[in-house]
Amino acid sequence: MTVTSELENPAPAKLAVEHVSKSFRTKRGTLQALDDVSLSVEEGEFVCLVGPSGCGKSTLLNLVTGLDAPDQGTLSSDGVAITRTGRERGMMFQEHALFPWLDVLGNVLFGLKLKPHLSKEERLQVAKFYLELVGLKAFMHANIHELSGGMKQRVALARALAPNPRLLCMDEPFAALDAMTREHLYADLQTIWSRRKKTILFVTHNVREAVCLGDRVVLFSPNPGRIREEFRIDLPRPRDINSVQLAEHATRITRALKSHTEAMTTAE
């Protein structure tokens, strides 16, 4: 094992979600977060899950990473059933979730230290590679609280990428950032994704964001959480979030999203 082989990209995963249901018991009764949801994701595909809050899109990510188990249905990655968490399925959260007791480098090293075949020196090289990728190598020894919101999310991205997952789940990772920082990160994420092909499941409630990043946009509706419609986005990359074509796609999808949500409210 060498750093080169460690940095080599494994083939991105193929994901299959079949007839998955998941409900939560709350004080007000049972919440059907996901109801008979099926989704198939190709190798290396960037899929954005869009919908209003409470439509179960984050729940789906928790099932895919193995943090939670479905009530019904099956999930599999490359034909292997997902029964628990594993480093081949990484996750990036809305809150950066970085560990305050470690510095930037320590955070990126966290997942690498769980790979026993790597030497200390090799882990360091791999961590530096990813910090370079997100443009924060100079901040290697900074404490987490010293970073800006955008920098924290960059570190979180580096940390999620470092164990070299084949599938990356991202749960509204940019929602808490200001518009300028977000636009930078859209560009960076596209570059990183093109350099290190991963299968990405990206949850957002921002339609423009979804169109800017995704190969495919999947619309969810809440109560119970279901998939309503899917849109393929064939715009050339890298995409600029402010382009007119992108806006056209976004308008179309927003209209569809509204009609599903309205249909629901009238049905009630």
Binding site: T85, G86, R87, M91, W101, I144, E146
Partner: protein
Amino acid sequence: MKRILHSTVFFIGLILLWQALVSAGLWSPVLLPPPGDVAHYLLKAVRDGSLFEASLVTMGRLLAGYLIGCLLGLPLGLACSRSQMLSDTVGVLALGLQTLPSVCWVPLALLWYGQSETAMLFVVVMGTLWSVLIAVDNGARSLPPIYVRAARTMGSQGIHTLVKVILPASLPFVVSGMKQGWAFAWRSLMAAEIYVTILTGYGLGHLLHFGRELNDMNQVIGVMLVIVVIGLLADKLLFAPWEQFLHRRWGTGR
């Protein structure tokens, strides 16, 4: 530098005030000796080695009991925070015993172990253990669950999560718990040493006790001063570096 100056001026002022009170002659010098006499006693006790020896005996007992208390309290506290069953049993027991002033363990320790080092050790362990356990339990329980979830998606599980995530994440609570445990251990040991004479070693508490028996106010006040200084040193040397590290990493405090 300015801070040291402030402290120095303050304490010199206190000693001058003390001297002034003695000179005013309001109390008999037997009850309130001048600072010079106390200093004289301290000098003598340092010279004949009795003070150093007593401090050594006391610190030995304290450190041994404290370490045992922490070594038991840390893992038990962590375990309680992860298991509802343990928390409902051991946790409740700890909470109850923590409210018991640790000097209350002394009679029991004497009956169980006699006038021995073991009795001393037992009292110190009881003083430390429960407060460390409860602080660690509370700390680990109040962690944002996202840390554990994030760690799991990177392949961390079981013991690894406990040692590499939950323990460091609750470090601020652990340190304040250990500090509280130290304070309780110190208090309980002093109480025990004043209360019982143990022939295997005379600690600072005994020196204080003998001072009273001999009606030697110089010794009483001198030993009290030593006890205060040791407490201060422990705080500055043992805990301040940790707290500084935590403030720097977490970005809390000044």
